[in-house]
C-alpha cells in the first residue's frame, strides 16, 4: 500500500502553491448519526448553501468559515457507512474526493461506537487525500464507560486525532486547526493502512500488477485494485476501457474466481481496527444499561411502542394544524388581503386588466404559496426533533412491518400520515427516507392520501346529496383512496422498482437531546428551498389559471377555461359530469377549496334566493356527485403538490408519470362509479 503515500508526496503540489489567502477546500465525512451535521452547522451557520449534487437527488451542503485568516470552504459529504458504489450517496462522496481534490478530509467518528466508525476511515485511507479524525460524542462514550486515549490512537493510526463534544462546541476549533495544519503539510500524513486478510493478498497483488500503469489520474491503482476485488460495479465498468483486452480478461477471470474476496477485505479492515483500538480504548465490562436501553424497552415494545407511536404521530399531526391554521388565517386576512387591497388602490389609474392580474392573479398566487409556509415550518420543526432525538428510527422500526408489504420503508409512515392534513409537507417529509427508491415510491403515493382540503369538499357535498348516509359515503370514499394506494403501491413495487428495493437494515442511534441550532437551520433550509422552487411554480400556475378563467369574457362562463371544459364534455358525459363540473375540477387545481366556489358561481347559487345546496341538488344527480367526489379524491390535489413533487424528485418524468397515472385512475374510477351508481338508480337529480 506504499504506492499511495508515494503518490501523495509526489502530488503536483496543489496545496503548496495555494497561497493562504485563496482558501482551502475541506470535505466533512462520517457515518450517519455521528454529529457531522452539528459540526458543519457550527462552522458554517447561515453561510451554508443547500442544493443538490449535479444530476442527483442527493443533498449537497457547503459553506464557508474563516479560521486564522484563511477562508475555508467546507463541503458536508453525505453520511455513509462505507464508500462502495451501492448508493448514490456513497458515489457522490467518493467522486468528490477524487475529482474535487479537497485539501483535507475531516472524518467525524462517534467515540461510543469507534470500531464500527473506523470502517469508514479504512475506506478513506486508500484514497489520495490526507485525513484528520474527529472523535465526537466523547461525553457519551465516557458515560457508557468507554475510555479513549486520543494520543495513543493518533500514534497508532499515524494521523491527527482530536476529541470533541460538538453538541457543546468543544474541540471543534482544535479540529479545524489540525485539519488546516495537515493540509499545509501533507507529508506529515503517514497513516498505517489496513491490509487485506491473508487468503487474498496474492490475488490483490496480481490484480494490481495487471492494472500496472493503465490507471489514469485522479484514480490510484491501490484503490482501484481493492475496489475491483470488492466487486465495485462502477469501477468494474470504468476500468475495462483503460486496459488492453488481454489484461482485462485476466483480471475478469481472477475476479470471477474470487467473488468471496469482499469478505476478506472487510475482515482485513476489522483486524486493523482491532489493532488500532486495542491500546487506545478501554471498555470496562460494567454491564451498564444506558438511557437508550431504558427508553427502548418501551419504544420498541410490540404493544407500548405502538401506543407511543400513535400518540407521537397524533401529536405531531395535531400540533402542525393547530398552530399552523391560525397563523395561515392571519397571514391570509392581514397580509395577503391587506396587500391586495393596498395594491388595488395603488393601481386605480392603471388599466383594469393589469390591476386585476396583479391583484388577483399574482398576489393571489403568492397568497397560495404563503399559506403553506406555517404548516411547513411547524411540520419541519417536529420532524427535525423526531429525527434528531433518535425517535424517528424507532418509529420506522415499528411501522416497517406494515409498510413493508407495500414496498415502502417504515420511515414512510410519518410523511404519508401527514398527508391527511396536507400532501405538500407529506412529499417534502419523504426526505427522511434513506433509500432513493423508497423515497420515490413514497412521493408517488403521497397524493393518494386524502388531504384536509379534499376531506372538506367531501364534508360539504355529501350531506347535500346523501343526507343521513353522508358519513358512510365519505368513509367509503376515504377507504377507496387507501385501497387504491395499497394496490398502486404493491403494483409499482413489483413492476418499476423490482430489484431496486433495498434491504431493510437501519441503525437505531442513541437517544440524545436535539440541537436547537441544527433544528433551526434544518427548518430554514427546507422552507427556503420550498419558496425558491415549488413556490415559483405554484405562482406561475396560479397566474396561468387566473388568466385562463378571466379572459376573454367578463365572467367565467365565457373564459378559455370554460371553453376547455366544454371541449372535454364527451369525457365528462361518461362520468355524468357536464362542462361546469369539469371546469370546477380544473379550477380546483389551484386549491381544492376552489371547487366549491366555482360550482357556486357556475350553477348560479345565490340567484333567486336559492342557496348553494338547493341549486346544486336540483341540477346534479347523486350519481354525478359521487363520481365528481371520486375523481376529486383520487386525482392530484393541487398545483402545489405537483410543484413540490417536481422539487423533490427533480424529474419531470416521474412527476408527469404520477400525474398521468392518477389521472387515468381517477377518470376510470369516476366512470365506473357513475355507471354503477346510475344502475342503482341514483342517476336522477332532485328537481
Amino acid at each position: 500500500m506504499s504506492n499511495a503515500s508515494q503518490k501523495m508526496s509526489e502530488r503536483p503540489s496543489v496545496i503548496d502553491s495555494k497561497p493562504s489567502k485563496q482558501g482551502m477546500l475541506i470535505g466533512l465525512a462520517g457515518q450517519p448519526n455521528v454529529g457531522k451535521t452539528t459540526v458543519f452547522n457550527l462552522l458554517t451557520g447561515l453561510s451554508q448553501h443547500v442544493g443538490n449534487w449535479p444530476g442527483k437527488t442527493v443533498e449537497h451542503k457547503e459553506g464557508t468559515f474563516f479560521h486564522n485568516g484563511t477562508q475555508l470552504h467546507i463541503v458536508d459529504l453525505p453520511g455513509t457507512y462505507s464508500l462502495t458504489a451501492n448508493s448514490p450517496e456513497e458515489r457522490v462522496a467518493r467522486e468528490f474526493i477524487l475529482h474535487e481534490r479537497p485539501d483535507v478530509i475531516v472524518m467525524i467518528a462517534d467515540a461510543s461506537a469507534l470500531e464500527r466508525n473506523l470502517y469508514l476511515l479504512a475506506e478513506l485511507l486508500v484514497l489520495p487525500v490526507p485525513v484528520v479524525l474527529g472523535l465526537n460524542m466523547m461525553d457519551v462514550a465516557e458515560a457508557e464507560g468507554i475510555h479513549i486515549e486520543p494520543h495513543v490512537l493518533e500514534a497508532a493510526l499515524g494521523l491527527p486525532v482530536i476529541p470533541l463534544v460538538a453538541a457543546r462546541n468543544q474541540g471543534v476549533s482544535e479540529l479545524i486547526t489540525a485539519a488546516e495544519g495537515l493540509a499545509r503539510e501533507p507529508t506529515r500524513f503517514q497513516p498505517v493502512r489496513p491490509e487485506i486478510a491473508a487468503p487474498h493478498r496474492e490475488v490483490l497483488a496480481q490484480v494490481h500488477a495487471l492494472l500496472n500503469n493503465h490507471v489514469p489520474e485522479p484514480y490510484c491503482a491501490d484503490w482501484v485494485a481493492l475496489k475491483l476485488l470488492e466487486g465495485d460495479a462502477e469501477l468494474t465498468e470504468k476500468v475495462h476501457p483503460w486496459l488492453p483486452e488481454d489484461a482485462w480478461l485476466s483480471i475478469a477471470a481472477l475476479l470471477k474466481e474470487h467473488e468471496d474476496a469482499v469478505l476478506d477485505i472487510a475482515s482485513g479492515r476489522y483486524e486493523w481496527i482491532e489493532r488500532m483500538v486495542r491500546a487506545a480504548v478501554t471498555h470496562p465490562r460494567l454491564g451498564q444499561i444506558s438511557v437508550t436501553d431504558h427508553l427502548d424497552r418501551f419504544a420498541v415494545h410490540p404493544f407500548w411502542g405502538l401506543l407511543l407511536l400513535l400518540a407521537v404521530f397524533g401529536f405531531v399531526f395535531w400540533i402542525t394544524f393547530t398552530i399552523a391554521t391560525p397563523i395561515q388565517h392571519w397571514l391570509d386576512v392581514y397580509v395577503v388581503e391587506g396587500l391586495q387591497a393596498w395594491l388595488a388602490t395603488a393601481l386605480t389609474e392603471a388599466p383594469s386588466w393589469l390591476a386585476d392580474l396583479l391583484v388577483h392573479g399574482v398576489l393571489g398566487g403568492v397568497g397560495v404559496v404563503v399559506t403553506f409556509v406555517p404548516i411547513l415550518a411547524v411540520f419541519f420543526t417536529a420532524l427535525a426533533f423526531l429525527e434528531d432525538t433518535g425517535y424517528l428510527a424507532r418509529a420506522a422500526y415499528m411501522m416497517d412491518r406494515f409498510m413493508h408489504f407495500l414496498g415502502l420503508h417504515g420511515k414512510s409512515f410519518l410523511p404519508l400520515f401527514l398527508g391527511f392534513g396536507c400532501n405538500v409537507p407529506a412529499i417534502m417529509g419523504a426526505r427522511v427516507i434513506d433509500s432513493q427508491s423508497g423515497r420515490l415510491l413514497t412521493i408517488l403515493l403521497a397524493p393518494l392520501v386524502p388531504c384536509s382540503a379534499r376531506l372538506m369538499v367531501l364534508a360539504l357535498l355529501t350531506p347535500i346529496f346523501f343526507g343521513k348516509q353522508a358519513i358512510w359515503v365519505s368513509w367509503s370514499l376515504v377507504c377507496l383512496n387507501m385501497l387504491v394506494l395499497a394496490v398502486v403501491g404493491i403494483t409499482l413495487n413489483r413492476t418499476l422498482f423490482r430489484g431496486q428495493h433495498t434491504a431493510f437494515i437501519m441503525e437505531l442511534p442513541l437517544y440524545h437531546l436535539p440541537g436547537l441550532r441544527s433544528v433551526g437551520l434544518f427548518v430554514w433550509n427546507n422552507i427556503w428551498s420550498f419558496l425558491r422552487k415549488a413556490g415559483t411554480i405554484i405562482l406561475l400556475v396560479s397566474i396561468i389559471v387566473w388568466v385562463l378563467s378571466s379572459f376573454p369574457g367578463a365572467d367565467v362562463e365565457q373564459s378559455y377555461l370554460a371553453r376547455f371544459g366544454q371541449s372535454m364534455a364527451p369525457v365528462g358525459e361518461l362520468m355524468g359530469m357536464d362542462w361546469r363540473m369539469i371546469v370546477a375540477l380544473l379550477s380546483s387545481f389551484i386549491a381544492k377549496e376552489n371547487a366549491i366556489a366555482t360550482l357556486g358561481v357556475l350553477y348560479g347559487a345565490g340567484e333567486e334566493g336559492r342557496g348553494f345546496a338547493e341549486t346544486i341538488s336540483a341540477v346534479v344527480s347523486p350519481a354525478t356527485a359521487l363520481s365528481f367526489l371520486t375523481v376529486t379524491m383520487l386525482f392530484i390535489p393541487c398545483a402545489a403538490t405537483v410543484a413540490v413533487m417536481y422539487q423533490e424528485t427533480r424529474s419531470w418524468r416521474w412527476t408527469l408519470f404520477d400525474v398521468a397515472l392518477l389521472l387515468v385512475i381517477a377518470l376510470l374510477a369516476g366512470v365506473m362509479v357513475y355507471q354503477g351508481a346510475n344502475c342503482l338508480g341514483l342517476g336522477v337529480s332532485s328537481a
Binding site: S82, T84, E115, R116, L120, A266, G287, Y397, M506
Partner: protein, 89 residues
C-alpha cells in the same frame, strides 16, 4: 477444529449472543452489512425477535434493525453461556 453448528440469525432468541460465521446474499449485501458492523467474526446480541417483522440486534456497540429476509441470510454460531462475556448479560 470441529465445525460448529450454525443457525440463521433469524432464529437466534432474544438475549442470546452469537458469532457471525457467514454472510449470504451476494457481494453488495455482505459489503453493506460489514460496513455497519456485521462482519465475519463479529459478536452479535439479539435484542428483540418476536417471530415476525423486523428484529433488533446489538453489534459493535450499534443497535441495528434488520428485516427477517436479511436475517435469514446471516449464519451465526450461538455462544453458550460460558462463552459469553459479562457485558452481554
Amino acid at each position: 477444529m470441529t465445525a460448529k453448528k450454525t443457525i440463521p440469525l433469524e432464529e437466534l432468541a432474544p438475549g442470546s449472543s452469537a458469532l457471525v460465521r457467514d454472510l449470504g446474499g451476494g457481494k453488495d449485501f455482505a459489503s453493506h452489512l460489514s460496513a455497519m458492523g456485521l462482519s465475519i467474526g463479529s459478536r452479535v446480541k439479539m435484542l428483540q425477535n418476536t417471530g415476525h417483522g423486523p428484529l433488533l440486534v446489538l453489534v459493535r456497540d450499534t443497535r441495528i434493525a434488520l428485516g427477517r429476509g436479511q436475517a435469514l441470510k446471516i449464519m451465526v454460531e450461538e455462544l453458550r453461556s460460558e462463552q459469553r462475556e459479562p457485558e452481554d448479560e
